[in-house]
């Protein structure tokens, strides 16, 4: 059942569950951040509306910088603004930022310790019809490998809004990963969100869980659906929302592994270097258990509808259920 302590969306299992793009939560969060803190500024590389920075830009035109199609400049200009006390949010598609401008992020943001927030929209395979060039499947790996940066991948629009507001206060660099497609609303305004804290969203009706499913991003919804069906089939699971990939909640992950002794990770990202790899690093050092990884298996994406692609690349509800059965069979 849904964890009753977290005040999650009670309508999550309705067929007409509200669906909102995760990026929209960022747009609303940034607008609010702008109202709360006058040092917040927005920079965009010719994608203001599709990254949802338009709400901020319309309300605070004097605090918005349009840099044109120039992602390297986007980041380095933001670094300079941060040097003067601003809290810059830089938005583009994840393929371009942090894709194209990785070294600039390293030198001028993380190495230079400037509190710039890099917002990568349109991440994952569910970008859909635009095809493989536009589907960022490597961005988590690119960002989490760098010292001195937080990496946050919210599960829905409401969490994205909370994450945006939280990042204003951290005083350090961050990468915020967003998705384009409409995603079911899982949380509510009352659901707790803390950058370094992972929460268990799904728990067994009673007793201990046999497997733990750790998810980052919008696939959390499919994982919860899978957990619900597995429960009916007599397999008890817990589902964790790991929206903060860095810093990573070691305590929560180890405690889940100790209870279940079998883990499945789920993300719209290459398996190599992604959230699953981060979880594996934690468990290998603290409490090794069998892990199954749901994600992209060393491939580029292609055109299609988000659902077609999620299914094709083995990241849908049935694939998650299959991975749970597989990991249970591997349990010692």
């Amino acid at each position: 059942m849904l964890n009753p302590n977290l005040k999650l969306n009670p309508k999550i299992f309705n067929s007409d569950v509200e669906q909102v793009p995760i990026r929209k939560g960022f747009g609303q969060g940034l607008l609010k951040a702008g109202e709360i803190n006058k040092n917040v500024v927005g920079l965009c590389a010719d994608l203001t509306e599709s990254t949802q920075m338009n709400f901020f830009a319309d309300k605070f035109p004097e605090r918005f910088v349009q840099v044109g199609v120039a992602e390297q400049n986007l980041i380095t200009v933001a670094s300079g603004m941060a040097a003067m006390g601003k809290i810059p949010f830089c938005s583009s598609y994840a393929v371009f930022s942090p894709g194209r401008n990785w070294e600039q992020i390293r030198t001028t943001i993380t190495f230079n310790d400037r509190p710039v927030k890099i917002v990568g929209s349109h991440s994952g395979i569910s970008v859909g019809p635009d095809g493989g060039t536009h589907q960022a499947l490597e961005d988590i790996a690119l960002m989490r490998v760098m010292p001195n940066i937080d990496v946050i991948s919210p599960c829905d629009a409401i969490e994205a809004k909370k994450a945006t507001l939280a990042l204003v206060r951290t005083g350090k660099p961050a990468y915020l990963r967003l998705a384009r497609e409409k995603t079911p609303i899982i949380t509510t305004e009352e659901t707790p969100f803390n950058i370094d804290q992972a929460e268990i969203y799904w728990i067994p009706d009673m007793g201990l869980a046999q497997a733990g499913i750790i998810v980052t991003g919008g696939l959390l919804y499919k994982a919860i659906l899978a957990a619900k069906e597995l429960e009916v089939e007599g397999i008890k699971t817990k589902v964790m929302n790991l929206s903060s990939i860095k810093p990573i909640d070691v305590k929560a992950i180890v405690s889940l592994a100790k209870e279940c002794k079998a883990i499945v990770t789920v993300e719209e990202h290459q398996i190599a270097g992604g959230m699953g790899s981060a979880v594996a690093e934690v468990l290998a050092q603290n409490f090794p258990v069998p892990i199954e990884f749901i994600g992209i298996r060393d491939l580029f994406g292609q055109s299609g509808t988000p659902d077609e692609l999620v299914e094709h690349y083995g990241m849908g509800k049935n694939s998650i259920k299959e991975a749970v059965r597989k990991v249970l069979a591997r349990k010692v």
């Binding site: 200009v77 670094s79 300079g80 810059p88 070294e103 230079n112």
Partner: protein, 280 residues
Amino acid sequence: MLLTEEKIKELATKANDIRMSIIEMLVEAGSGHTAGPLGMADIFTLFYFHILRHDPKNPFLEERDRVVLSNGHICPVLYATMAHAGYFPVEELKTLRKFGTRLQGHPHREYLPYIETSSGPLGCGLSQAVGMALADKMNKKDKDRFIYCFMSDGELDEGNTWEAIMLAGKNKLRNLIAIVDRNNIQIEGFTEDVMPLEPLQSKWRAFNWHVIEVSGHDFRALNEVVEEAQAIYEKPTVIIAHTIPGKGVREFERNYKWHGKAPNKEEGKMALNELRALRF
């Protein structure tokens, strides 16, 4: 600011001292860049001892002018000038590139917080300076101070530089002044052979900058063009400063082979003797 004959003499002596420090620190380090730092010694001296609004005893003074060094590899001249200006002891220059030093091989703000940015990878200093000037413009502080970006001609090969030039032109950043070290060399040879930059003036002008060319070793002329740049109200200014790489040591001058290497003990001794002979 008025530059008297007496002050010019003083600056020339100081620049010579700084060149000697550069040689000493490079010999001690055993690696590093020689030509660029020697070539920029006059300009750095003029800025830190005459032009900049700054206070070495109060390095985080809010109203200070900002100095962004984009081509971080010439940091020996930055470190030596800052030491002579009083930011830290001149003796510390001998720690350049050594374990535990504040004077990292390329500038790192975490180790030496008195510098405005970390740098080394080329082509991203100007855009940081643009960001600083944009922030000043937003805060209506662009009449209170100047943002100076020291950059190399070689890094004009980088696309990021031109993205920054375009954005600065668009936003008419009046308190942004770029100083290009036009020494005509880069690692693999002369700039016009590796990747021709000329006509450099008209390129910047086409991007809506005010452009001035000047000798990088003439204190009076340099001071005048900085005053001109400060007086330009409606656009950013670039000063293309023609410098002699390796300036002050005949053996090193205009020779791109000295771009990226340090003098050994013997070469250092020869260089110091030559510089000592130039003392006023």
